[in-house]
């Protein structure tokens, strides 16, 4: 059995080399929080799994490098660096934050609490489904004080 190989199509898409030619694939992380870079499923546009990998290192170096680039691009999250305010409004909790990507304001529902991630960070999902991670231990004291009630 030949080792599966990945390549990048001219239009930029990731593809899996198969007997019938390159097939564009989409990357699915099976454990995005506990093992973000392992246990990966490569699937067609309509969701059929073509390849399952325990690690990108199971591929040849070139394919592995391509996959790691895709992992980095698709795993981008808003990373909160400081919290300017955390206030309550009718039915909403409003966050004013600075993220690594830039300043951002977002809202969560009042009874939605951040989720504890295995690495000690918190994951917050806003009303739109955008995801924010924050490491409370790395925040400045004022931000830490603001987020303290949210810690599980």
């Amino acid at each position: 059995m030949t080792t599966p190989a990945l390549l990048q199509l001219p239009d930029g898409r990731l593809a899996l080399q198969s007997e019938s030619g390159p097939q564009p694939v989409q990357l699915c992380r099976c454990f995005p929080w506990s093992h973000p870079d392992r246990f990966l499923s490569l699937r067609t546009q309509d969701g059929k799994e073509l390849l399952f990998l325990q690690s990108p290192d199971d591929l040849d170096p070139a394919s592995s490098a391509l996959l790691k680039t895709e992992l980095a691009q698709s795993g981008a999250l808003f990373e909160i660096e400081s919290i300017q305010s955390l206030s309550k409004e009718i039915e909403l909790r409003c966050w004013e934050v600075t993220t690594r990507q830039g300043p951002r304001s977002f809202q969560t529902e009042l009874d939605e609490w951040p989720r504890d991630l295995p690495d000690g960070r918190l994951l917050i999902e806003d009303l739109f489904g955008d995801l924010y991670v924050v490491n409370p231990a790395r925040l400045d004291p004022a931000s830490q004080k603001r987020i303290w009630p949210m810690l599980g």
Partner: protein
């Protein structure tokens, strides 16, 4: 939903532009000539995932990318005809688009990245590109589509009437109008009561001075009489105040509940799909209860506390200005301590609520799933998990109690310290070598007044919390009252009784969000007594079509005619009373089987109810219950099996004797044996009526005169069973083959 409301929400909450910036708009002619701006969206993420402001503009001919950070900067213009497809990748938080041209060997025409916040708006553009449709057709509609897409999740999460707090309070107070008399009586009683509470300390002081100065016994008896009378009057005014205000608050809450529930019944399904059931229920129950509390006691308590504080301060300063200052000067400091304490409590309470939420989620997760817990022998693990969360809760609430149990004794001590200071300043003046400039009676009066200082301060300290809760509840209630019914009723409606049952759909289009078409160009005609089956894959628009037929929604374009009359001109109540529905998930109300079968037909003849149940194959199982038709079924009919519930709903439809009958997956959730029973019941039910039936199991539609096949919102095939099977590569043929295959696999 109004454009201004959506724009306000975007402006208040998202810190992204509420519309395409004007300078960019003015540059459009030089960028793409005379094209109309049909749609636009914000691609808010750079390729390296930094936040940015890049606008994606869709015109009739071109799609254009323009950077809006700083002065508008044109990035690229792509003719729509060159875009062969859009490759979308969903990342953990956001999306990436690759606009691909016709040549698979060429690089993408453009790459766009955006957060989930922009997804709906970008989807609109994708949809227009894929459908090769120009889009809404004007910059105003483009503004509206953008604002609606971005604001929708916020609008759905928050009461839409969010606004000025005082305006909400005033609006709330308008509900007191019908009870002016009670308000006056209760208000005046409260004022008198407050004034009267100031009497006993003063009279007590006079009594003591009288005793010291050997005043005549008659005078002392008069003082005592005044004291007694003030107590009696206080009791009387307290009774008036409490009873008037409690009755009034209860009546206002009753009026609001009635108004809210009545208005809820007029709202379209759109409202109910947008809001969670629990949230709607709590608006009618706990929110109105909070308003009762606020109206009955909150408003008056706070007003009286301010009055009392002002009265006490004046009296104290009047009695002895030096001692008065000792008492009154710390008041602002005390009020400030309430504010600080309130904020601190809010902070730690939030933490406690978070822990409490963790605890209750363990409960709500394990109790309904207790069979699984036991089957996997996880009792110990679940107990440990609960104990751990419970310990966390204990810790958090201990912190809460630690703070308030320190604050209040500390505050009480402050009052004692102030009182002690009064003693320290007063005693030398009473016992000193100089002639005392204060009598013992005045001093006692002073001390008694001082003791009354704490309560109004406490009430004022809690005012903010009380106001916030009331305003929040009022917002949630007014949101319902301010929501307009989406199905407008015309004047001079036609009452068609009885219906013949002729149904015509003429070029019907429908979209839920104004952009994505769910139904397109539907032309259909049903003769009275005809049965048609609606067939098609999931998402084809079958259920939407049915929702239009019962007028839960109106078509976006085209019209539906019933017996030749536009459905919009018919009296909705009279029309719906002649339409019967049997749904996939029959809804039964808490109550007796009889009440459920005769729902909407008060005073139905018991013989007719039995006959209907017999027709629905329900009579047999009903008679097995000791209380027969008067058996109370639990909430949503929990005590019945799925098939039994379905047969009750069929009996309900039989009893109503509808002219038009709608069957929406009536047998999809039951086993084969039950399906056979239900099918028999349905066969009797459909006779002599116009029937529209949806079924995934094509066998259920064997009695249909015609089958209409829907796909992607359009009618793609129609005909009888054999005609449709004869279409090679037809949608119906595909569905049929798939079911046959499944059936065979199942048999094997």
């Amino acid at each position: 939903m109004s454009l201004s409301l959506n724009q306000r929400l975007i402006g208040s909450y998202t810190s992204q532009p509420t519309r395409l910036p004007d300078d960019l708009r003015s540059r459009l002619p030089e960028i793409w000539g005379d094209q109309t701006l049909n749609l636009y969206a914000l691609a808010d993420m750079h390729a390296d995932s930094r936040l940015q402001e890049q606008w994606v503009l869709l015109g009739g001919r071109d799609l254009c990318l323009v950077n809006g950070d700083g002065p508008a900067q044109h990035v690229c213009t792509i003719p729509r005809s060159e875009i062969a497809s859009i490759q979308e990748s969903a990342d953990l938080s956001g999306y990436r688009w690759k606009l691909l041209g016709p040549d698979p060997q060429a690089s993408p025409l453009a790459e766009i990245r955006f957060s989930r916040r922009q997804h709906r708006c970008m989807e609109n553009i994708k949809l227009m590109l894929e459908a090769e449709s120009p889009g809404p057709g004007s910059p105003e509609l483009a503004d509206s589509a953008y604002a609606d897409s971005v604001a929708e999740p916020i609008r759905n999460a928050q009461a839409a009437v969010r606004g000025n707090e005082m305006a909400v309070i005033w609006r709330l107070l308008t509900y007191l109008k019908p009870y002016k008399k009670d308000l006056w009586l209760g208000g005046l009683a409260a004022v008198f009561l407050t004034a009267l509470t100031l009497v006993p300390p003063r009279v007590s002081g006079l009594l003591i001075d009288g005793l010291e100065n050997d005043l005549p016994a008659r005078t002392l008896w008069i003082y005592l009489g005044v004291l007694g009378a003030s107590y009696v009057l206080q009791t009387f005014f307290l009774w008036i105040r409490l009873s008037r205000m409690a009755y009034m608050g209860e009546r206002v809450a009753h009026d609001i509940r009635t108004q809210v529930y009545g208005h809820l019944q007029t709202l379209s399904l759109r409202f109910f799909t947008r809001k969670q059931t629990g949230s709607i229920i709590s608006r009618c129950s706990s929110d109105t209860d909070r308003l009762w509390d606020f109206i009955a006691f909150g408003v008056i308590e706070v007003a009286l506390s301010v009055l009392m504080l002002a009265g006490l301060g004046t009296v104290l300063l009047f009695l002895d200005w030096r001692l008065g200052l000792i008492m009154t000067l710390p008041v602002p400091l005390i009020l400030y301590s309430f504010v600080v304490h309130g904020k601190q409590m809010q902070h730690i309470f939030l933490k406690a609520f978070r822990k409490w939420s963790d605890l209750t989620s363990v409960l709500s997760g394990t109790i309904p799933g207790i069979r699984v817990v036991k089957a996997f022998h996880q009792e110990k693990r679940e107990t440990q998990r609960f104990v751990s969360k419970n310990d966390d809760c204990l810790e958090s609430f201990t912190r809460v109690h630690r703070v308030w149990t320190r604050f209040w004794p500390g505050l009480t001590f402050s009052f004692h310290a102030i009182t002690l200071s009064v003693y320290l300043f007063a005693l030398p003046r009473l016992l000193g070598t100089r002639e005392p400039d204060i009598t013992i009676g005045t001093f006692v009066t002073f001390i008694l007044y001082a003791g009354m200082f704490m309560q109004p301060l406490q009430t004022i300290g809690q005012m903010t919390r009380m106001m916030n809760r009331a305003v929040s509840s009022a917002h949630r209630i007014f949101e319902i009252l301010d929501t307009e019914p989406h199905i407008p009723e015309q004047e001079d409606q036609i009452q068609l009784t009885p219906l013949q049952g002729r149904v015509q759909l003429e070029n019907v289009h429908f979209t839920y969000d104004g952009v994505r078409p769910v139904l397109q160009q539907i032309d259909l005609e049903l003769n009275p007594g005809e049965m048609i089956g609606l067939v098609g894959p999931s998402g084809a628009g079958k259920s939407t079509l049915i929702q239009l037929l019962v007028r839960f929604y109106d078509p976006t374009a085209g019209r539906i005619l019933i017996d030749g009359h536009d459905l919009r001109t018919l009296d909705i109540g009279s029309y719906r009373s002649q339409v019967g529905m049997v749904l996939q998930e029959p809804y039964l109300f808490h109550g007796s089987l009889r009440d459920n079968i005769s729902y909407g037909l008060e005073g139905a003849d018991p013989a007719d109810i039995v006959e209907a149940a017999r027709a629905a194959h329900a009579h047999e199982f009903i008679c097995k219950f000791p209380q027969g038709y008067e058996t109370i079924i639990g909430e949503r009919g929990q005590t019945l099996s799925g098939g039994e519930r379905q047969r009750i709903s069929i009996a309900r439809a039989v009893l109503h004797n509808p002219r038009i009958l709608i069957l929406d997956e009536a047998t999809s959730n039951v086993d084969t044996e039950t399906e056979r029973n239900i099918q028999d019941a349905l066969d009797k039910l459909v006779q002599g009526r116009t029937v529209i039936a949806i079924a995934h199991r094509l066998s259920t539609l064997r009695r249909a005169d015609r089958l209409i096949v829907l796909k992607d919102g359009k009618v793609v095939e129609s005909g009888n069973h054999e005609e449709l099977l004869a279409i090679e590569d037809g949608v119906f043929r595909g569905l049929y083959d798939m079911q046959q295959e499944l059936h065979h696999s199942f048999v094997i």
